[in-house]
Every structure is written in C-alpha cells, then in structure tokens.
C-alpha cells in the first residue's frame, strides 16, 4: 500500500518525518518497505512568470521569452506555441538537471542567449503531454510566488511510504485505515473529510425508472446505486491527476479518477457504469448463468461460471461484481450519465473468480480482505458529489439500494486473566480499557462468566478480523509493544516415557552424512523435481511418477523417482567449471505414486553416490588414476561395516536375471541385497555412456543408490558387542587360483569358505593378475588359519590348504 504523507495529513495532524512514521507503524505490525520521493524530476525547478515574448529574429518557430524568477529576470528561448506574457510557468534554471539527466547550461540558439528551459508536462515527468509548456494558471489557482520551488508550489507529494499490509488487515488498504493507526501510535485526533456539495447541482431522481434486484443468499450484503447526469467527460484537475500519479496510478478521466481516488482514500471499491448503456431499466446482482461470457474492461472475453457474481441489466451481464466492469457499460469519452455503485460482495466468491480468471484488481484485492460495510454509504456519497462537481453534472436525489445483511459487530468475551496468561505480564484494567477504546471497541466491563471477570467487547466496524478473544489479546499485546515484554527461557517438560526411545531417523541420517564427509565425499543438495524428459532419458518407469500440476518450467514438472538425475546435474555443473574429479553424496527423498497413502505419495529416503574422474585428490605423490567400480563398492562396503550390518551380496543383474537397470551399462549393473534380507538395498553401476554424454561427461560415471529407510530400520536392530581377541598366533597361506574369465571371485570364495573346515579364520583377495592374451585370470587369496585353543602346526595347515585346493579343482573349472 502506497501512502502519501500529504494525503495522510488530511486525516490526522501528523507533523513528523516519513521515516519516524514508518518506524512506528512497523512496530504496530504494518511494516515499512521503503520511502520514495515521487516527482524527482521537479526537484530543482522553480516558478517563473513570462514577462515578455518576442519572435526570434532568425527562426520561424522560436520565441524569446523574458522570464521573472523572482530574484532575477532571464532570457529563455522556447519553441512552444502556447507561450504568452503573464503566464506562470515551471522553469529549469541554469545548473539544474532535467529528468533525462542532462544538465541545463547557458546556450546560444541561432545567435541568441538562452538561460534555462521552460518545461512541458512531459519534461517534468507529469504526463505524455508535449504540445506546449505547462501553464500553471490553467491547472490551479494562484497566487504564485516567483522563484518558489515548483514541487511545493504545485502541491505535489514529496514522500510516499510503501507499507506492507498483512492479509488480515484489509482495513489498512486505505489512507483512512493507516491514518487510524497513525492516530493510535501518536495519540492524535482523526478527522474524516466532509462531503463537498459546494457548487453541486441537485436534480430530480434519475433512478425512479430503474429497478434493482439483489439475489438473496451470500452474494452481496450491501448494494447501493447513485446517479449523476449531465456530465462532461474531461481531464481531471491537476491536483487529482498529480495525487494519483504520486501513488503510482494513471489518470484516466474526471469521472473514472474519482472512483479510484475514493477507493485509495477510504478503502471502498466503487464502480461507475454509463447509465445510458444500462438496458431495460433494470439492474440485477446475481450469480452468472452457465456458459455466459463477458468482455471485461481490459478487452478480454471471460468465460463465466455459476459461482461468479455478475451485475446485469435486462439483457445480461454488464460487470463482474467486485472484480472488473464490463466493456459494454464502461465510461467513455461520450458518457454523460454515471450510475455509481457502492457495494460489499462476498469475499470468498470474489476470490474464486479472481483466482480462476487470473484477474486481480484493486477492487477484488480489497473485497477479498474485507471492506467496512458501515463506511460504504459515506464513500458512495463522497464519490457521487465529487463526480458531480468535477463533471459539472447533476447529482440525482436519493439512492437506490438494498442491504440484505446489515453488518453486526460481534460481542466478544475477554478475560483479562487469559490475556495475562498468554502475554505473560500483568495488564491493568485501565491499560486494557484505554487500548481497546482507542482501537474503536465498545466495552461492557462488569460481566462475569462462570464466576470469572469477563468483559464483553464489540470491535469497530472496520475491524472484521477481530472475531475471537485471542484476536483482542493480540491487539493488547501489539499496543503494549512486543519489545516491552521481558524475555524468559521456559523449562521444557519431558515426559518420563520418552526414556529409551529409539534413535530418530534424523540422528541416523546425520551420522551417515558425517561419516561420508569424513571419508572425503562432498554433500550436494538438488531440487526434488526434475523434468519428465530427464526421467525418460534415464529410462525410469513412466508409471508411478508424481507430476507437478503447475510447474514453473518443464525442467521441474515431476518429482524425482531416483536421486541420480539430480546428481548428474551436479556433475554437469562441476564439469563446466573444469573439475577433474567428483565424489559426491546426497541424502534425499525419491517420490513415487502410492494410492494407499493419504498424500498419494510414497517417499523413500535414499543415499546417492556419484564418482567421476580422479581417484586421488592430487596427482602426486601417487600416479593419478580414474575412479572405478571398486571405489564406489568400497565405500558402500565400508558404510555397511560402519553401521555394523552384515555384508551385502553384489549380483551382476545382467548375468543374474538378464535385467540390467535401464540407465546402467548392462554388463556393470549391480544389485545389492544385505545377507539375510529379501528386499533390495540398492544398486551400483556405470551410467550408460550415451546418458553420461548428455551431461558432458567423457569419462566413466560410477554411481550407487541405497535405501536409507531400510538401512535405518536394519540399524535399529543392531546391538554392538565386543569380541575377545585371539590368544594363539595365526598361520597364513596363499593360494593362487587360475580361473577362466567370467567365473566370479565370489564363486571361488564360496567354495573356499564351504570346503574349509573349522580353522580358517578369514580369506581375502590379495592379487589379481591377467596373463597377456589369455582366457584366464589368476586370483591370489590369502588364507588365515587359527585355532582358539592351541598353536596350529605347519604341517597341519599345509594339509588343510591342500584339501581346499582339491575341493576347488573338483567344484570349479579351475587350476591351482
């Protein structure tokens, strides 16, 4: 809400600075967003009088003017056709700056000296008018002081406060409303402007032949019409144009400007119909018929539905009540009679219409937030008299109207005790009474309810947001001043039954994140939404996706069903910055449709990993290498170990089921299942090169995703136990298995573990060698034997190793 300080002063005698006013209003809940100074262009301009006009000796159209600036008389050359001696004009003297930034300097025009510029309205930023100079005598009555600052002389607004008004304070969307708060803040009297009938001709009732019908129900609680006839459409007077312009409104014509002016001033939206365009002598306020259409003032054809409020004449809709008028009844240059509407419409119907049509007007904005019904008649009368005056028309006697639902202020209970409990300080009856009275409430103090002191409070008509006791308590706190309250740190009650509760998923996730960061991975955060086309690119299933109905862009029109597309975006961003390697993780939800869920969504918390490029953070002292499957898998194995979970089974999906994941290279698409679990924990694999290519990744992209919900669930069952350390020494033997390519290491390990009797403590791969050109590879395992009760003998261990070798050769197509 833009508030002109001069306009405010017509209601309340505030003499301080705009900044101080803004600061006080801010602390009352009406936040100052900024103070602007309109008409900056006129800053350095002064009033002058043309004393003499002469034709320029060497030009057909230039005129030499002698201009009196009070302190001096200067010669100015001017090209305007409307200069005449005696005119008061606005002069940009030498040394001042024009709105376009040019400095006014002494100049010579065809041999004659010019000392300044006589300005047109356009040059002053007042309008587009550049037909001639601005002649002040034509716009306003004097007297004028020569040399006076033009902005002052013209009565232009110099300070405009931008106040942000919260949705509950519709009453503050007007100069009047903010004046009330100013009066409250500074303890000043408030004056309503009188209705000015001076020079207004009163006519007979033009409304006699007109029939008004307001549909029953909740469409409109107040609807009144006034007529003004014999009007001349024209430009509004300067004061009105300039005032509207000061708060960012465009002047249209004398008849239309008045309705805007009164709306900004009093907060009551008004609408003018051309009386002669109302057909059949009838006005009806009713919901629209099915399939009806209306072209609104902005020239758009609107398809109406049966929840839209329409203003109708005998033939059909002529306006969208409370939102925008119809083009078929608008005021134009030929209009001579106005039917002026002052009404209150149902806020939620207005909101639905305005939302559906994406048509928010100053009127609908105010109606949605509540307009003071008791002020409606006054606003209508003030506007009607102003239109009659400015358009030199006749104000017809009486108004035509209906008030289906008069405004009744509620009577709210107020327990001072409850207010003290919620606010936390003691509030004297005097403070409460003074505060509520200043807000315009009416009080009944000596009441009791259930034996307790309970006041009855009737809020003022302009505060429909005061509906409950707690709303009154907020007013008391607001006026008391939140910052005048002490600060206390309350004790937090903790029920004893909370003892021994399982660790929360928040704690679990935090533990995993800290582990990953400690391991040298960087955490990333990506948007939850991507584009359908991204999910398509990865071959993620089209079924079960959750689309955004009103996405900002097509890049963000679906919730991600996997973390990988987001991780790939992070990769692309980093490659664009020349990163040589990336090792990142993300913990976030993947979303799929779930008809059984009340939110229609299944949210699965996942851990995503992406490894790319450099294996080491520097190329020295070791030789740089490229990250591969074993880097990702090692991290996954370490995580399961960290969480004290059993190891997982890693199955090559192409080999295992013939079904690789669609975004992974078929040969390197690996599924993970924790030993002893039936559900898949996740996957590891290499992103298909054609997908990687879209993200400008030229090297292999390795990724993994794990189900964090599942890991959390499993981790809750883990009970950390310590194992005693062995007493007797181990005996180690190496065994090299020459296996055909394609035989998985896990298959060899399985036989080793199965064939070895008690005594084999652990087995690990220590070397893998591929002889050149061969069809085989050499896997060397280190076997650690140990007995719990004695030292094993060499011969004994040699025997165990030999029998294992025999078992391997028997079970698998291998040599030792």
């Amino acid at each position: 809400m833009l508030l002109s300080l001069n306009w405010l002063r017509e209601f309340v005698p505030y003499t301080g600075s705009p900044e101080e006013l803004g600061a006080r209003l801010t602390m009352l809940g009406l936040e100052l967003d900024g103070v602007s100074h309109p008409f900056p262009a006129i800053e350095g301009m002064v009033v002058g009088r043309i004393e003499e006009c002469k034709k320029h000796p060497d030009s057909d159209h230039l005129i030499l003017c002698r201009v009196n600036l009070g302190s001096e008389i200067v010669d100015i050359i001017c090209g305007a056709p409307n200069t005449a001696p005696g005119q008061h004009v606005v002069v940009a003297p030498v040394g001042s700056t024009m709105p376009d930034g040019t400095k006014v300097k002494k100049a010579k025009l065809r041999g004659q000296e010019s000392n300044g510029i006589i300005c047109s309205e356009r040059e002053l930023g007042l309008s587009d008018d550049h037909r001639g100079i601005l002649v002040l005598d034509e716009e306003m009555s004097g007297p004028f002081t020569l040399g006076q600052n033009a902005r002052e002389a013209m009565g232009l607004d110099t300070a405009v406060l931008d106040i942000s008004v919260t949705p509950n304070r519709g009453d503050c969307l007007s100069v009047l409303g903010l004046a009330r708060e100013t009066a409250l803040a500074f303890n000043l009297p408030l004056t309503l402007p009188a209705i000015d009938y001076a020079g207004v001709e009163r006519g007979s009732c033009a409304l006699e032949g007109l029939q008004l019908e307001v549909e029953s129900g909740d469409v409109s609680s107040y609807y009144h019409l006034r007529a003004i006839e014999g009007l001349k459409v024209g430009r509004s007077p300067a004061w009105l144009r300039w005032r509207l312009q000061g708060v960012g409104q465009r002047s249209i014509s004398n008849l239309v400007d008045v309705t805007n002016y009164v709306m900004l001033e009093l907060g009551q939206p008004l609408h003018s119909f051309d009386l002669h365009k109302v057909r059949g002598g009838k006005v009806r306020v009713a919901l629209a018929g099915e399939g009806e259409k209306l072209v609104t003032l902005d020239g758009q054809e609107r398809q109406l539905v049966t929840r839209d409020i329409t203003i109708r004449d005998a033939e059909g809709p002529i306006g969208l009540g409370g939102v925008m008028g119809g083009a078929n009844s608008d005021i134009d240059a030929q209009s001579s009679a106005v039917l002026l509407e002052g009404a209150i419409f149902n806020p939620s119907l207005i909101r639905r219409t305005s939302k559906r049509l994406h048509l928010s007007s100053e009127a609908s904005y105010r109606f949605e937030r509540g307009v003071d019904q008791s002020m409606c008649g006054y606003a209508l009368e003030r506007a009607a008299a102003m239109i009659a005056k400015l358009g030199q028309g006749k104000l017809s006697a009486g108004s035509l109207g209906s008030e289906p639902k008069p405004w009744v202020a509620p009577l709210l209970p107020l327990r001072r005790e409850r207010a003290e409990l919620l606010i936390g300080v003691s509030l004297t009856p005097e403070f409460c009474e003074d505060c509520l009275s200043k807000l315009g409430c009416k009080l009944e103090k000596d009441c009791t309810e259930a034996g307790r002191e309970t006041w009855r409070v009737a809020p003022p008509n302009h505060r429909p947001d005061l509906e409950r006791e707690v709303d009154l308590i907020e007013e008391l706190a607001r006026v008391y001043g939140f910052d005048n309250l002490p600060q206390t740190l309350p004790e937090v009650e903790r029920p004893a039954e909370k003892a021994g509760e399982a660790k929360s998923i928040y704690q679990f996730v935090s533990r995993v994140k800290h582990w990953a960061a400690g391991l040298g991975l960087n955490e990333v955060v990506n948007y939850s939404f991507v584009g359908h086309k991204d999910l398509d690119l990865f071959g993620l299933p089209a079924e079960g996706r959750l689309s955004i109905m009103n996405p900002l862009t097509s890049d963000m029109d679906v919730l991600r069903t996997a973390l990988l597309p987001g991780l790939m975006n992070s990769l692309r961003n980093n490659l664009a910055q020349g990163a040589g390697g990336l090792r990142v993780f993300e913990v976030a939800n993947a979303f799929t449709a779930d008809p059984a869920s009340e939110t229609t969504a299944h949210e699965n918390l996942r851990l995503g990993l992406l490894f790319y490029g450099d294996r080491f953070s520097a190329g020295w002292p070791q030789t740089q290498a490229e990250a591969d499957y074993l880097d990702v898998k090692g991290v996954v194995e370490a995580l399961l170990d960290k969480l004290r979970l059993p190891a997982a089974v890693y199955a090559n999906m192409a080999v295992d089921s013939g079904k690789a994941l669609p975004w992974l290279l078929p040969g390197v698409s690996v599924s993970l299942v924790i030993n002893g679990q039936s559900v898949q924990l996740g996957w590891i694999g290499r992103v298909k090169p054609e997908i990687a290519d879209v993200y400008h990744a030229r090297k292999n992209v390795w990724a993994a995703e794990l189900d964090m919900d599942l890991l959390y669930k499993l981790s809750l069952g883990v009970k950390p136990r310590s194992k005693p350390l062995p007493v007797f020494p181990p005996v180690r033997r190496d065994i090299t298995v020459i296996a055909p390519l394609g035989l998985e290491a896990e298959a060899v390990l399985a036989v080793i573990k199965k064939s070895s009797p008690a005594g084999l403590e652990s087995v690990s791969l220590v070397d893998l060698f591929l002889p050149a050109g061969g069809q085989e590879r050499n896997l060397t395992f280190r076997l650690t034997y140990r007995a719990a009760d004695r030292t094993l003998q060499d011969a004994e261990v040699d025997k165990l190793r030999d029998s294992m070798a025999a078992a391997l050769v028997k079970a698998l197509p291998v040599r030792i």
Partner: protein, 345 residues
C-alpha cells in the same frame, strides 16, 4: 685342539667379511652363514661328538665365547649400517614437500545450519522430527487455519501434485501431525526439512529449507517465546546480537510476530565507515524468522484443548546460512559447485 683354532679363526674371517658388508641384506647373509642354524659355528659345534669326553667341556666353553664375540661383531656392524642408512635418508628428506592429500569431504552448508540449530534446541530438551514433503491440503493449510478461498493462501504460492495434494509450502504441517500423534501436551519439537513454493527469482528458489519449532506446555506465554528465540539468535550469531519482535500475521499463530536481529554486518548501525550497509539497507535490522502463540483453531484441528498454551516459530535455513557465512547468491546452494562446497569442509 685344531677345532679350537678353527673356532678362533671364525672371528677373523667374520671381521674381514664384515668390512665388505655394506647393506643390511649383506649383513643378514653373514649372520646366517656364521651363527645361523646351519652356519659355520653350528657346523663346528656338530663336531663336538668327535671329541674325547674330557675335551668336550673346554670346547663347549670356547664355542660359547666365540658365539658371543661373533654376535657382538654382527650387532656392532648392524648399528653402523643402520646409522649410515638413517644419515642417507636424512639427506633426501624435504620438510617442505606437499603432504599426501586426502579428499576434502564436506557437509552442505544447509546441513550444517540445520544441525547447528537443531543442536541448540536439543540441548533445551526439544526432539527433532520430520514429516512428508508431499502433503494434503488439510495438513498444509486447513488445519493450520488457512480457510479455503482466503487471501492468507496468497502468502505462499503453491505447487500442486493433485487436487488437494500439494508440495508442502512450509514445515508447519508437521506441527499438526506431531500433536495428533502425541494426543496431549507436552510437545516440544523442531522440524527441519525441504519446502516448496511456486517462485523463482534472484531471491527465491522453488525448493528451500525451513526449521519449524513447536512447544505446547504449561503456562507458556509471549515472554517465553521472546526468551526462547532470543536464546537461539544469540547462540547462532553471537552474544551481542539484539533481537526485536514486530507484530505480524500468520494464520496459525495469534498473536504473531516477525523477528529481526541487529545487522551482523554493521552491528545494527546501518552504516559501515560512513557507507550505507548493503546487507540491512541501512535499517540496522535483518528479518530472520516468523513466530507466534499457536492459534486455538490449530489446537482444535490437532485434537488438543483450545485453551492450551504454546508457541511455534519457523525460519529459512538458506537465509540464516547466507547471513552466517556471508553467502551472496541463493543459487549457489543448489548448483553444488565443488569450489563452493569445499569451503565448508
């Protein structure tokens, strides 16, 4: 007695060979060949059985003497060689060579701020809880006292998944879920999480993070709210930070307030060395969070008594991170540029 002479001969033999042993493996070889299990000394010892019984004690005694001498010689040479090697290693040592670099892992600044704030509240006795990001209209709006067709809904431009199903626009719906689950007071929770708005420009991203707090208990009032939030702001930004409360409006709290902290760039002065402060735009204050006493309608929707007392608050994580770390551009949070992320390692 030529066996004794042979024993004595070993000493000179070893001395000669030791002089030629210049490396630790050479030395080890000598040790094995002289005093090893199958070495020269052992070879002579084996001849003990060939001696007459009366000669055996003298031979045995001599052999032990010689063994001691040989061992000492070997040990002495070993020390010499070790010292030589250490001296040689010292020559190649360079204290200024760069270290073997581990990867610099990092937690995202959003995570760091969330954890810092949650830790402040956990210390006070609050629990950290979560809730769904796809929400019903009921939890996201209605139960929080945003009626249908009410302009309060304009405060949050909403992304829809389905009719009546939204991407949550704030973490507040978890307040209602928490109260419904707990059935009765007391409740004290903080709720960090992702939230979504249909908004994208230089100061807005369609996804961002909030932390919500809710406490319902015995006789909680506005002074407690002020004290709790002042405690948080000072824990986050330092002891000397000033806090002010401005009345405001949120449908789910009554009274409602917005909280400003004194500008951390200019210390609330509005100017730095005579230049206008760009962070607070000379006001000296920075808006940091919204809060209020929970509205009775919210209690009613959550199955609590309307006369309960308690308060709630919500703050933007990115906003706090930007102020705390001096991050100038909101987009940096979601571009995941390593050069940015690694500043938080």
């Amino acid at each position: 007695m030529n066996l004794i002479a042979e024993l004595e001969g070993l000493v000179d033999k070893l001395k000669t060979q030791l002089a030629q042993a210049v490396s630790l493996p050479d030395l080890e070889e000598l040790r094995v060949s002289f005093v090893g299990r199958k070495g020269a000394l052992a070879g002579l010892m084996n001849k003990l059985k060939d001696l007459a019984p009366q000669e055996r004690p003298a031979f045995g005694q001599k052999a032990n003497e010689i063994k001691q001498i040989l061992s000492d010689l070997l040990e002495k040479r070993l020390e010499e060689l070790k010292a030589q090697k250490e001296a040689a290693d010292l020559v190649t040592f360079d204290a200024t060579l760069p270290g073997r670099q581990p990867w610099r892992g990092s937690l995202h600044p959003i995570t760091q701020v969330i954890e810092e704030i949650c830790a402040i509240y956990e210390k006070l006795g609050y629990d950290v809880v979560g809730g769904p990001e796809v929400e019903t209209d009921f939890y996201n709006f209605e139960a929080l006292n945003f009626p249908h067709d009410h302009p309060a809904r304009d405060m949050q431009d909403t992304l829809y998944v389905n009719e009546g199903i939204v991407m949550r626009t704030h973490t507040s719906p978890v307040e209602v879920r928490t109260m419904l689950a707990s059935k009765k007071p007391p409740v004290a929770v903080v709720i960090p999480g992702k939230v979504y708005r249909r908004d994208s420009d230089i100061t807005h991203t369609p996804m961002f993070h909030q932390i919500e707090g809710l406490i319902v208990g015995k006789n909680l009032n506005l002074c407690d709210l002020r004290g709790t939030l002042a405690y948080m702001c000072r824990s986050l930004f330092g002891k000397t930070v000033n806090v002010r409360f401005r009345p405001s409006f949120f449908p789910f709290t009554e009274p409602s307030a917005e909280v400003d902290i004194s500008c951390i760039m200019c210390n609330g002065k509005g100017h730095i060395d005579g230049q206008p402060c760009r962070v607070c735009k000379t006001t000296g204050w920075l808006e940091i969070l919204g809060c209020g006493m929970t509205d009775p309608n919210v209690y009613a929707f959550s199955g609590f008594d309307r006369e309960c007392t308690g308060f709630a608050f919500g703050l933007g994580v990115e906003r706090v991170a930007m102020l705390k770390y001096g991050i100038g551009d909101l987009r940096l949070f979601f571009e995941n540029d390593l050069r940015f992320l690694q500043q938080f390692s």
